[in-house]
Symmetry: D4
Subunit: 249 residues, 8 copies
């Protein structure tokens, strides 16, 4: 129940059009309706400038299309994650401007220009080249949410000088996303170099006891550097989203 | 916000004591307060006849005493679970009628007589003698919630004739709770004999690969008999509580 | 050995047609036969109104067909679970009225009309859209067992207002089935709103540390709301079956 | 080094054909050669009546063919396990009498008639129909090793009367192999009925928390019935082999 | 219902003392009673010569005493497993002849002399000295069940020559029990030397990734030697019991 | 090597006091020294306003005392985490102003007044009362790092109205820390209400399948709400530290 | 920054071409550059004689080709691991001399002849035939790094005499690599025979509880023989590389 | 059977004192005896300069004393690992010169001076101070085996400059042992700096998801640096022993 309806009801009580008892009956079912509206209002406000996000996985091209349609009607930018290329044809027919990034498996539809609102740079680091797809999912997400994003790849801890080579950029970043598989040690080293929040993303690369990313995840949770928090395995979107929240002014 | 306050507010609008705008301001924060009240009201009503429940574990005797006090003021019966005997002295001084069951580690304070409101008998079966403490926690819970409860102990599947000996009582029960450790096979056999809901409770008895009840839990989740659902390891309270919900008329 | 055979045997002893020793020999093997008959009789009686159920997984279309045939001869309704569409052609040739639900992978053959015998409504809630196939398996099962079933989808806890929007229907339900993957938190919230039994079904949706439903399962077993019991991952059938048992008058 | 060579060497020393020093040099390398021969001799003797066994998995049809060839030259019967049908064509060309069992994925080549040397009957029980392939691997193995084998299928614990129906055959068996997936409860019930060794075989049937047979395995290891030992998941061969060793006179 | 009662009932029908209907009523409850008796009879017969076994763990000294009393009244020998020394005083007062083995934590009361009925020697091997307590539990069990038992300790695979030194005794044994912790490799080596059944017992010795015996258990389940079956971690009793069943003539 | 030393060296080269070759020798070992100094300098600067932190666990009271001494000499505030009360006496003798919080097991020594530099409020929520110790560790950490911190306890998801009651404070917070054990569902609900970063802290409360916090951890990693990141089990310090980094202007 | 640049800078200061302040500015960024150069130099030197290594997995044929190209320009030998045959065509067109080993999935390009620089023989042992691909990856790696390598296959512990047959070669080896799946027992036996370092490589062969090599890995980590260290599952390259490091003079 | 006995036997055959048949009988049992002797001889020779090692854990002070006695009679140095201080009194009475290291829980008895025979320095690095006990066990072991050992503590990856500060010592070491708990990342960084074998030792330090060292172990097994091998959790002895084998000339 929005404020207008509420005001109208109260005016009717004031004017004698409705009895107090009638109004009580109406207001008794208010709470949940009201919560609904309030939350939606709140969300609309706080999420201003955010794109709408669709998880492509587990949805057909037609289902995705229909969601995109309803979103673009509201004039929102759209980000689709975990969408395979074979579903893009259906979308491209209706939205010829939709962009697809095959490495990160993301599609983006930018209706209104993205304004850079983030306070500083979000820097994404990867330990290896196989971590790049997850890193790019984070990058696309953060860019769609209005951030300057930089990426430095293949600076794993077994070649520590390669990492230190980028020390200045690392120290200048406002938020850092560190993507790593195998032993997942990179966030600890980076976390020790900076005093900014580090979001660690374990990836499912590796073999044998990498256990599809579990080893990297455990390593990151046990990081000896303070300031490191962790998201689910391969969850580049979650890292990019959280980094954007942190980077908001 | 309860109905009285709401009615008073509306009357003030009606009588001109408050403007519509003032009332809107008041009602804008209503939803969550209202939800609060509504839920509490609802709970009060549906839980009529239920005891108040306190988890003793992790609380000091004094903390428990203070909670019991506030509950008895409302005239509710009280059930305390997972409470060690050494905390009882403090409680007994203030509530000399409190009963303690050392095997199930439960304490009960019955202020108003428990009325049997359950539709049928709740039958609790245990595979071994070491499962009895958990079974008694379920029993005390179900009794406090107004049920006839029967218990048959030590009828594990390795002596199938002992179980079948009780076949008639098993088939007459309205809800069954089956408590077992080790391989947790009893619920499957019982579930195959009856067409009533079977709540399986794994216990942390056993050694080696019993893994403190995980093996029993997994066995129960994989029961080849339909109609079996499972609660957490050693969760006699949860089983007794759910059985009581099922047994309500 | 049924009562008739027993009576005939005793009459033969009475009339001298058989000696006592002969009868003893016959009766010595009685126990297990008797158990067999008794159980079958018992099952027949208590399961009146239940369909026959076939697990399609791991059976060929021909094997399924032959089981369906023997069941329909007894005039029973038939429910087949976990059956892939490619096996349906064989069944449709012989049973043109067989219905297939591709989402839940269930097939149903209704020979005698299903009578609604359940006491109240069984409400099925899903956290996300990917949980719907498992929810529909539960729904079909409960409907075939004579229940009114309602379903509310996509009311996961990250949008709590969407869930609370349906509060009245939730509170009116007689039994609730809550289907959720990922963190499996929905049953706890629902269990806190109602005082009816909640059957939680973890689903294998999610990625990374969802571990094919294990995380959801663990979350549900540790539910902080009393009244929640759990079935195996993706076991919609088990949930629908147990809910039906609970809902029987 | 076999006895003949040893005798010849000593004779040469005795006759002066070789010096003591020369013989010492020869005998210094004796131990390991001797162990080799001794073990082979020992094996040859104790394994009399056993077939040669080839694990088909991970070998090409040609590799298998070449091993079969060398074995048949010694006049041994041959058992091939875990061999897919598509490898049989190559074998059938050379050995037209080779028999293939597609359910158990075993092939057998019987050159000399199998003599029944086992002391009693080996009885194989399965909990469900999906356990039959593993059970048949055990059956074929035990038959090739000279045993009478019986099988009773689909007597899972959720229909205890079906199991008890076969009580006499169960009690007469000399060794029992119990094959079960899901909760793996059948060996406990059977182990409680008999006083003969029970070999439990977990199978990888089931879904969700069956964890490809791990749950069944754990259940069996925790069996509350004494006399139950366990083999690896789906290891029908190991069960049939051990049962045969136990059944030897 | 035993045969005598059955015969008397039938005679009463024959003589007209009871009507057929009365007898049917009596016999209707027969199955389960009968099963009970039958099973007990069967057990009594097949277990002739076996001791009664009490699991001491989780029972008070008084509970154990009372069970021992009822057993000795029937003239049975008694074996108590997993009993701590502090409970022995109570037992010794009443049964001064009771023997306690502190290493294996077993107590034995031998009323009638144990007759050696096993067909051959049961040989117990341990990988290390810390495995001896479990090995002795197996030894005591097998001795109480009428077997010749030999033990060879500390012949782990890292000193293969120590094991092979005992090759003749190993090859002469009728049944072998191999007790090992850490990597649990000994059963594979022993299983490759003999053609007799090998029962592998993992022990909870070791540290770190020995995971309280799980590593040894897994190693044994994956033994590359056929003829090896496995019992639960530290389950010396189960191994001794099964070995005795195998060794029975 | 700091800038002063470097400048002095270069001046000596300029003035001819040192040859180029001598200077090269000195500068050849510069890199690592320099890195060392640079990092320390950098750290000093960025960490301005942060306390020095000592992990008390695994250190003796004397070891802690000696570290505290060296820190206070530099005029830094000190935070000691995971320190048991019995070690405080030694510290109190030397530092009578040291404060101890027994619930969070933290000790704090505030030499220079803590200035509130954080941009907004850090709000800490706990699902249950047993989560409070971990929450307080987070609170003390964030307070020592110059933040306004609020805490709301016992608002678990099974009583959703209690949580929603605090909706306004939740929506106003700049960073949120959500502490929960058992199923760990609270961060998902909170994450769905706000658009600020949520740091989830699993706690080791619960029993059975809570697995000492692993279930809560997994639930949090699989949160269906974006914006949630996770730290190690019971790592209140890490959560407070990261929240402070995020909250810096 | 290399020495030449440093010397030039200092000369400019000496000669007055640059002021001290200018030089300080240049030298302030020195540390990380210097580290970079130093490390690269160091690596170049210590790795003299080593091939360049490319992990083929997760790279396209074109990506691999481009890396190979840049390496061969420096005149280095090249080893590509985990490369599937279908990527070889692209490489062969440009490098007709490239050798492919399909079993180990390695490709090698030898531009300058490999000099044997290793001190002794590296001996590779495998437990079964299915372990050979991993063993060959180790072999190719060690050969490319300048070692004499020998291999003995199929000497698993279940046929201990086959292993002991090769005792002399085993005892003569300078470093040993032992490759085994299933229970992973072979390294313990070998480690007990020699006093040289043994590198154990678990393989993902086996089924059921082999858990894709985890059981073998755990067995090896718990080896009762000192001198055994372990690498990741199927990591033949890592074993060959480490063995080569150990074998360097 | 040693060479002398063999020679005497052959001489008796030569001289006619024994017949060939008699000699054959004697030699038939030779293999295993011979293996025994040979292995012992071999071990004696290759282990020259090594101390005798006793695992103190699980042995009483008296048992340890008796083993030490027999060893010192042969003039060997003795190393006892995992021995608690309370057992030292018994040993000190008999061996007043025995040295005890309480941190590493090792005792050493040096009868003949330890000669440094290792080729280079063994360098031990620890990530934290809590890793020192395990590091010292490695150090004592390697020293007793005749090596120069250096240790650098508390150089974890979160403070990378502290590690790099010791770069020269790291690069000069012949073998490296890296001891780390928590995320176990240090071996990867060290392995990337050197071209010498790195033995990684996970420790059971940490809390929550450190899982008593499992996380560190998994991180080390997945090290992205080649040349790293791993031992069991807290196995300082194994690391020191293997490093010594590698360091032998």
């Amino acid at each position: 129940m929005n404020t207008d309806r509420l005001r109208r009801l109260l005016s009717e009580v004031q004017s004698g059009k409705r009895t107090v008892d009638e109004a009580v009956e109406v207001l008794k079912v208010l709470p949940f309706e009201a919560l609904d509206d309030a939350t939606v209002d709140h969300h609309r406000q706080v999420r201003r400038g955010f794109p709408e996000v669709i998880l492509g996985e587990g949805k057909t091209a037609d289902q995705i299309l229909s969601i995109v349609r309803s979103m673009t009607e509201k004039g929102e930018n759209v980000l689709i994650t975990r969408i395979e290329e074979d579903k893009m044809a259906v979308l491209r027919k209706v939205f010829p401007d939709i962009q697809y990034n095959p490495r990160s498996r993301t599609a983006t539809l930018v209706d209104k220009p993205i304004e850079i609102t983030g306070k500083g740079t979000i820097l994404i680091l990867t330990a290896g080249t196989t971590d790049i797809p997850v890193a790019e999912e984070a990058m696309v997400t953060a860019q769609m949410m209005g951030n300057e994003v930089e990426m430095i790849c293949d600076v794993g801890v077994a070649g520590i000088h390669r990492l230190l080579h980028h020390r200045e950029r690392i120290m200048k970043a406002h938020v850092l996303i560190v993507v790593a598989g195998m032993e997942g040690a990179l966030p600890s080293v980076v976390g020790g170099l900076v005093n900014r929040p580090v979001i660690a993303v374990p990836t499912s690369t590796g073999y044998g006891t990498s256990f599809q990313g579990v080893t990297a995840l455990l390593g990151m949770l046990n990081s000896c550097a303070a300031g490191v928090t962790v998201v689910n395995i391969d969850n580049g979107f979650g890292a990019g989203y959280t980094a954007s929240l942190i980077n908001r002014p």
